[in-house]
């Protein structure tokens, strides 16, 4: 069975979003003006990831990490909702929850998990005085007593408190959300000015990892994992040559003292450079490749402006890599790059425009294939159409 993947996100009353849902199928490219909610949408994915982890989601994620909660709420609203659809490893699941402001703290007021399958049924319900889940073995609803009020049932499922396997799938899929803001590839002299000594340009601990850490931290450990998969490693090397040149022969991971690892880059037989010597674009591209290769089993892969620092030709490479990855895992990208849009093989399928409406809320719009087709006969791609000011004509 294929791994579970996120196929839809629903957001209500969160920052600029009043009530939107986004279907994720293959590569989804978010474009729109500054302040139109692209990064907020990606942040919602990160919030959803916390659902399967946090013991007190409302306080830990909504109040402390991403909050205060009132800043997350849409202006004038007193509660927000998030939801996802999950498909893959079993009957499709639909999950959502609502958090309200009670006094000054957020409180979970509603939660529901619905399994669609052959026998559609509510697997979990919380709210309006009810709090139960469906027990597969007894085929009956069981009142929930052991889950604390501030804990979402998804996290309870992950901790083995639930009698229903749907919770385990839900928790697993939410924890498998992977979101990468731009990688920390600043030159070392700039990082020193900011008093930062962590990231891909620095030696890092040999911790076990299954994915590339956010900002590209612990890159050597991620490379070690990648190197264990010969096919993935060959693909990584081949694609890396697009940024580092055809002379690139190998990467080696070296001890750097104190249990730390460092990466060396080998060109031909005579030139070896430390990873920290690479340019921002080169390093960022390597990190992107690693994130994509290690992200193939995720429920969704999301990148905020991954094309920063890239030469236009590299942007085209990036698009091909993301489109390839999107065949196995939903990929979401927010970008401002016209070159990125020009390189898309199917912009009408991939692109979602975030559009600020008159009431200050943001709507999500898809392109009209028939309109776009006529314009694409005249322009190189969607990016060129947008640069000329014709985007409104194709949505």
């Amino acid at each position: 069975m294929p791994a579970d993947r996120i196929t839809k996100i629903r957001i209500s009353n969160l920052r600029v979003f009043k009530d939107v849902e986004l279907t994720l199928d293959g590569l989804t490219v978010l474009i729109g003006d500054n302040g139109s909610g692209k990064s907020t949408l990606l942040e919602c994915l990160e919030l959803l990831r916390h659902v399967g982890i946090a013991n007190s989601f409302a306080m830990e994620a909504l109040q402390e990490s991403h909050g205060p909660f009132v800043d997350l709420l849409r202006r004038g609203a007193s509660s927000l909702s998030l939801g996802v659809d999950i498909e893959g490893d079993g009957p499709p699941l639909s999950y959502g929850f609502k958090v309200s402001l009670t006094g000054t703290v957020p409180e979970i007021v509603a939660e529901m998990l619905f399994a669609k399958g052959e026998k559609p049924r509510v697997v979990l319900k919380r709210g309006q005085g009810e709090f139960y889940w469906f027990d597969e073995s007894s085929q009956a609803n069981v009142p929930i007593t052991q889950v604390p009020a501030q804990m979402l049932a998804a996290a309870a499922g992950a901790q083995g408190l639930s009698p229903n396997p749907a919770f385990v799938r839900l928790a697993k899929a939410l924890r498998a959300i992977e979101y990468h803001p731009p990688f920390e590839v600043r030159p070392i002299w700039q990082q020193l000015q900011l008093d930062r000594r962590q990231g891909p340009r620095w030696p890092s601990p040999a911790n076990h990892t299954e994915r590339l850490k956010r900002y590209g931290h612990e890159f050597p450990a991620a490379l070690l994992v990648l190197r264990n998969d010969l096919q993935a490693w060959q693909r990584f090397l081949e694609r890396a040559r697009a940024a580092l040149g055809p002379q690139l022969t190998q990467f080696s991971i070296q001890p750097a003292g104190s249990g730390q690892l460092d990466v060396l880059v080998h060109f031909g037989l005579s030139l070896t450079l430390p990873l920290r010597a690479l340019s921002e674009g080169q390093l960022s591209f390597l990190l992107m490749l690693a994130a994509v290769e290690l992200g193939r089993g995720r429920s969704v892969l999301a990148f905020d402006e991954p094309d920063i620092h890239y030469h236009p030709e590299l942007v085209v490479n990036l698009v091909h890599i993301l489109e390839d990855a999107a065949q196995t895992v939903p990929v979401v990208v927010a970008t401002h790059s016209d070159r990125f849009l020009d390189a898309l093989s199917s912009p009408s399928r991939s692109v979602v425009v975030t559009h600020m409406q008159d009431d200050g809320s943001v709507s999500l719009m898809r392109l009209k294939p028939e309109q776009l087709g006529a314009w694409l006969e005249r322009y190189r791609g969607l990016g060129s159409i947008r640069a000329e000011g014709y985007l409104p004509h194709v949505i």
Binding site: D358, Q371, W375, R378, A387, E388, G389, Y390, P392, H393
Partner: protein, 186 residues
């Protein structure tokens, strides 16, 4: 419905939110309708095009696509039109004669506005009414002057500028008229 305005311009066709002619057109509409500038800016999609030659080509090649989604107006500088559309004979270089020549070369249901001389006429009129020296010609100075007129002057002063450039006034009236029409259902 999308109302599109093509501006003949010297600059490369890079869209900017602070594009002076867009801002001034929207402010004039807002003055007349009593609405916010922000709302007036949403009534049309202004697009600078490099040179009258580009617009001549686009009126044939792209106008049908644009007209699929709504009305189109091309704003041309009077000073280059004769060379492009009437290079040999000039018996009818009046407004209707020139428009007729353009339409026969590029048939279509678009609207044409011919600015007397060019956009600099508008900039000069703006400088006159604001009592400032006319700056050296450049897209940046044009946008600066028009921004001052849009954000720092009264509607009465803007009306004086519009009266001095009748072509621009026709453009304002055209946008107001087309947005006032009921939107056809899709």
């Amino acid at each position: 419905m999308i109302v599109t305005v093509w501006w003949e311009d010297a600059r490369q066709p890079v869209r900017s939110k602070n594009y002076g002619p867009d801002q001034f057109l929207a402010r004039c509409i807002a003055d007349d309708l009593g609405c916010d500038l922000k709302d007036a800016l949403r009534m049309f999609s202004g697009q600078p095009k490099k040179g009258a030659g580009t617009i001549k080509r686009l009126l044939t090649d792209e106008a049908p696509l644009v007209l699929n989604r709504g009305p189109l107006c091309a704003v041309l500088d009077h000073d280059k039109i004769l060379e492009l559309w009437l290079p040999t004979e000039r018996p009818n270089d009046c407004h209707s004669g020139i428009c007729g020549a353009i339409r026969s070369a590029s048939p279509g249901d678009y609207y044409l506005v011919l600015l007397h001389e060019n956009m600099e006429t508008l900039v000069r009129a703006a400088c006159d009414v604001m009592h400032v020296d006319v700056p050296a010609k450049s897209p940046q100075t044009r946008d600066d002057i028009l921004a001052r007129l849009v954000f720092g002057e009264s509607s009465e002063k803007r009306q004086i500028v519009r009266d001095a450039v009748p072509g621009f006034n026709r453009l304002v009236d055209w946008v107001k008229a087309v947005v006032a029409q009921p939107t056809p259902s899709l």
